[in-house]
């Protein structure tokens, strides 16, 4: 099984057990770098796939929570190199497939070939790069494919249908359906026409679809779960960690457990 197929398999397993897949997001090393692996293990024990945010100085697709977590993590010296070293130290102890969410520049600076090798060794199965549209992605995609790593494509409510189809076909692991026309951490709630949109994405995609942005509560996960295979929970989880609360009860509550 290629690395990106592990992501798909983990989401499919949740579907087969009759519940939405849960994809928790954390900013690596936030709030405290020392707690990174402990936190990662805790959320990987509940989540089906874990999205690991790589801090960046200019998170232009993110709202206040992720901006804050990203800035703080950088202040405390978190880097991609440090994150890989930490993941190496926990090798074999985390079952859930990891997907790294990073803006492009830290990946460019690291070097694509080295990135693909380090990622595979550290148990990373795929990447989400929010400022890398498909048209600019050939080099990174090629480097990742050598090691069977996937580049997850995002689609949004603003995406025209033809482009939606192209993106669904190009995606690996799952298709990330952004629920709102906006940035992460929105408090406005999910849009009324969400069901139609998610149904359309699911129809065009042979991969499972996970919805993200603005998902904070059990009702959100349930609403999304009726039309998509899974839900990504980011800013709300980061806020739980920020308060120093245990993430596991929160994540379980999202699934009604």
């Amino acid at each position: 099984m290629q690395a990106h197929e592990r992501i798909t398999a983990a989401i499919d397993a949740a579907t087969q057990s009759g519940r939405p897949a849960l994809v928790p997001f954390i900013t690596a090393g936030y709030p405290k770098p020392d707690d990174f692996i402990r936190t990662l293990k805790a959320i990987a024990a509940v989540g089906d796939v874990v999205e690991l945010g790589i801090p960046f100085s200019d998170p232009m697709a993110d709202g206040m929570t992720i901006q804050r977590s990203s800035f703080e993590a950088l202040q405390q010296g978190v880097s991609l190199k440090w994150i890989f070293e930490q993941l190496d130290s926990a090798s074999g102890e985390i079952d859930a497939p990891l997907v790294m969410m990073s803006y492009l520049n830290p990946l460019l600076a690291f070097g694509y070939d080295k990135l693909a090798d380090r990622a595979l060794a550290a148990g990373v199965c795929g990447f989400i790069v929010p400022d890398l549209p498909l048209e600019e992605s050939a080099d990174l995609r090629a480097a990742l494919e050598v090691n069977g790593l996937g580049l997850v494509q995002l689609v949004t409510p603003a995406t025209p249908e033809r482009r939606l189809q192209t993106l669904c076909e190009a995606s690996r692991g799952f298709v990330y359906a952004v629920t709102i026309t906006g940035i992460t951490g929105g408090a406005a709630g999910l849009p009324a026409d969400l069901a139609d949109y998610l149904d359309k994405v699911a129809r065009l995609s042979s991969l499972p679809v996970c919805a993200g942005f603005g998902i904070r509560a059990r009702e959100d996960v349930a609403a999304v779960g009726r039309h998509a295979a899974g839900a990504v929970v980011g800013s709300a989880l980061v806020e739980v960690l920020e308060r120093g609360d245990d993430p596991q009860p929160y994540l379980r509550s999202l699934l009604g457990q």
């Binding site: 960046f56 200019d58 206040m64 520049n105 830290p106 600076a109 549209p133």
Partner: protein
């Protein structure tokens, strides 16, 4: 830097630039440029690109744009001979007076052009970022002129050091949004404007103020600013008796510099871009992006940026808010890589001295940004006596009074001499 291009590639790319073939259909200036934006904005950028293709060189658009440049902006701006500077420097010094354009800087050329475009594309409202406040003021004025609501994103640090411009924007009817995130200067303002655009990509027109960002902005801004170089070139022939030996322009994002340089690329004229040298050569002490930066992706474009080994974009320092930026337009990255334009820097102190000298000797209070170009030109004149020098006087310095009042005027006695 030339290592970024293969041996034969540099001259082929420079020829293509001179022939007007860049950016290519992918928005690339050689290796630089492109479009690195969130998926939500991809359709908006495609619509903008289509709109630019349809309208920018359309006769009706150009007629309206040229009429506004003539009757509202006040173009052509003057070319001014600087006799006392010329005598003092041992050179023949000419100034292209963008400070005389409406609202006090070259920014208005781009702002009115894009505001007309926004109207034609059916935008409901306009957003803009600003550093020194000149683009914010220009956008506020241009939006008032075409009848569109305007919100300007401005870093909190910049709002303080350019407070007269904040008040001007508000009086021109714009909403000024203080940006408290990131470095609280121009880069954070662009990030915040992009975040806002993402919330309504169909209704909002983003009026970007420099030749930076994702395609088609570097191209669009250049096309709207190249009137500076076209006019200056003809005025040098008519008034100065010939083309200059060398032309200087300050470079932050690089819109005034590309506007001045682009029409001169094919001429035998040395072109020198001047970045902010700040207080020193260390990372974070300056905004000398091309002089000390490395290739990377920032705010939509592959270009030269100031970053650390991990690819984190670094904060910058300059006394001038308009040059205080960690990136630079991708076309400048190419022009440096091909060797056609040389990019150097001037320090905060050198810029302040140049500002005072220009005030005292020619009666022109130039912007702190522009002062960097004067500082570099003076140094050049000392090393190359007798040259004919053209300086892009990109803006006026009234907005800098809050900063300048912190520095006692050192040349008062010189002015009386």
């Amino acid at each position: 830097m030339s290592a970024l291009l293969q041996a034969g590639e540099a001259s082929a790319l420079l020829d293509a630039a001179i022939r007007g073939e860049l950016p290519d259909e992918r928005g690339r200036f050689g290796p630089f440029g492109g479009r690195y934006v969130p998926e939500t904005l991809v359709p908006a950028f495609e619509r903008l690109e289509d709109g630019v293709r349809e309208h920018l060189h359309d006769a009706a658009f150009q007629a309206e744009f040229q009429k506004e440049l003539r009757e509202w902006v006040g173009r052509p701006t003057a070319l001014t001979y600087a006799p006392r500077l010329s005598e003092s420097w041992g050179a023949d010094v000419w100034l292209k007076r963008e400070d005389l354009a409406h609202t006090g800087a070259h920014k208005i050329n781009n702002a009115i052009g894009q505001a007309i475009l926004a109207k034609r594309l059916g935008a409901r409202r306009v957003i803009a970022e600003t550093g020194a406040g000149q683009h914010g003021v220009a956008s506020a004025a241009a939006c008032a002129r075409v009848g569109l609501p305007c919100s300007v994103y401005m870093g909190a640090v910049d709002m303080e050091r350019q407070s007269p411009n904040v008040d001007r924007m508000r009086r021109l009817g714009a909403e000024v949004v203080a940006v408290e995130s990131g470095d609280k200067t121009l880069r954070a303002a662009i990030d915040e404007a992009l975040r806002t655009w993402v919330t309504d990509p169909e209704g909002i027109y983003y009026l970007l103020g420099s030749a930076v960002g994702a395609h088609p902005y570097p191209y669009l801004v250049r096309e709207l600013q190249l009137v500076i170089g076209q006019e200056a070139r003809q005025q040098m022939i008519d008034l100065a008796g010939g083309l200059p030996d060398v032309a200087f322009a300050c470079v932050g994002g690089g819109s005034n510099a590309i506007g001045l340089f682009y029409p001169l690329l094919g001429d035998d004229i040395e072109l020198i871009g001047v970045e902010a040298g700040g207080t020193g050569s260390g990372l974070g002490q300056n905004a000398a992006t091309l002089a000390t930066g490395t290739p990377g992706v920032l705010q939509g474009s592959y270009t030269i940026i100031l970053q650390d080994d991990d690819g984190q974009v670094q904060e910058t320092h300059s006394i001038s808010a308009g040059l205080d930026y960690s990136g630079v337009g991708p076309e400048h990255a190419l022009l440096q890589a091909t060797g056609r334009v040389h990019y150097i820097s001037a320090s905060d102190d050198e810029a302040l001295e140049a500002l005072e000298e220009l005030c005292a000797s020619e009666g022109i209070l130039t912007a702190l940004e522009t002062s960097h170009a004067f500082a570099a030109a003076k140094k050049y004149a000392g090393e190359h006596p007798g040259r004919r020098i053209l300086i892009g006087n990109s803006g006026r310095g009234d907005k800098d009074m809050p900063t300048l009042t912190r520095y006692p005027a050192r040349t008062r006695s010189h002015a009386g001499a």
